[in-house]
Symmetry: D3
């Protein structure tokens, strides 16, 4: 979902500090959530982006904006979900995410 | 979306303390978000439920479980989104929401 | 600020579990914050209520609604600050606080 | 850790809504965290209680107060960690947790 | 409130991604909150800064430190409210905000 | 605990804006928490790091990673507690903290 270069780069950076951690989150997020059949990947992208914006997890928000090109979640979806974040988690949470989404989408175009 | 009896009951309880507040949130959440065309109501329900569970807003979570019968968001959707909440916002946030969803859906059946 | 009956009741309930804790928070919140001269008590009430609503600390929010009668913070101040909470921390955080404020103010009238 | 009656009661209440969820959290929290060797159970109890108090997850906080009798985490440990929560997550987060800890420990004595 | 150069710069950066979002937040925060008569602008500044520090919204906190020169909220007000944030939302939330306030006020002097 | 050079540097940077604030947090965190006898410093480090990761307080998390060399909290302790954070506060909160811990520990080695 994040693309092979990302995965290769991430794997190369693993040390003793995060070996078990990376195994844990791969098994939990990937094996336990994303491979489940009920929602399609676009819906999971939208859900994850909204939660990450609402909780202020900026790094993970950017990661999932980059992943959106492989999930079918469009820039228009991102724009729309952030309006819902503004109403339900407050304007500042959404405002930061809008700025990050714009930066990340611009980087992806290049 | 919440059904006429809910709206009538809510309107009857308005006092000086929340008159402007209720106007504000109706205009913002209803006029500014839910009437926008991009997402269908089921998607908005799923998004809202995930954010409310992630942020620990229990009253609003129950309100949107009750509203789900008018948005096309099914109990299976709720079950599925809460697994994603567990991975992305932590098990305890999802655990409380599972308990509230079960209680509220049981009350709705009666 | 909370009135003598409240303080007497709270003191009577102290056990080994919270003896040091109660001393810590009295020294920190009361001695370290509320007795400082820069803001008047009404401003401190407004600030505290807004933060408690924004962070979802319901018990403390109710406590400070009850204390408001001794700080000069009026029901109209509470109504107004909760509209600002809705915009900056999201509608659901404010919505729960509006409900609690109405309940608590009604109890105080009786 | 939570005792056999708790587990039996929890299992009996599982429905279609939370079958996969319960399997997910058992695998993640129990299989993925609590069975790991590095920390003893008392340390894991202390860590979990502090995070639950800091994040305002009240139901899970009470669950882990009840579980503390099987982990070696004492009431004095709970009292102490909540002072640290007060400094690092704010007095109101700790204050609610102190109240819940006292209630739950009193119920456990009976 | 943020000054004309800020508004001009912000408007020039709007794209399809945030056109509706910017309209939404202008209408909600500006039209729905800041233009209301009950609180003066200094009080609204103080409230917003305290909530932004408590919730960890760093970008919005800095924006409102910059806006404070047009609202009558002084550096001494900011210093004072952050002590209250430390007690009610925890020392780390206030500590980050103190650092950001000092940086932003120093930039504003230049 | 943070080492004399850190304290000297911090003291030199104090201005009117944070003089009372620094006195407040020294008295509260240092005098009110870290000097208490019940937990050893390693346990307090572990607790603080877990709460800071869970709440997304990145600056304070890094500060306490640096302090860990004086508290007896090892890199293996940090690795382990972050797996518990992932389960109880969500994968993204832990993921950001893992990245910060790796960066900070690498800087400390140099």
């Amino acid at each position: 979902m994040l693309g092979e270069p990302h995965v290769a780069r991430a794997s190369a950076g693993i040390t003793d500090l995060d070996r078990d951690f990376q195994a844990f989150i791969t098994r939990t997020a990937w094996g336990g959530v994303w491979t489940r059949p009920h929602f399609d990947r676009r819906t999971r992208s939208i859900l994850t982006l909204a939660m990450m914006a609402a909780l202020g997890h900026h790094e993970e928000f950017k990661l999932h904006v980059r992943a959106s090109r492989n999930t079918g979640c469009t820039p228009a979806d991102i724009a729309e979900l952030l309006i819902q974040v503004a109403a339900y988690a407050g304007i500042p949470a959404a405002n930061s995410a809008v700025r990050l989404a714009k930066e990340t989408l611009r980087e992806m175009e290049q």
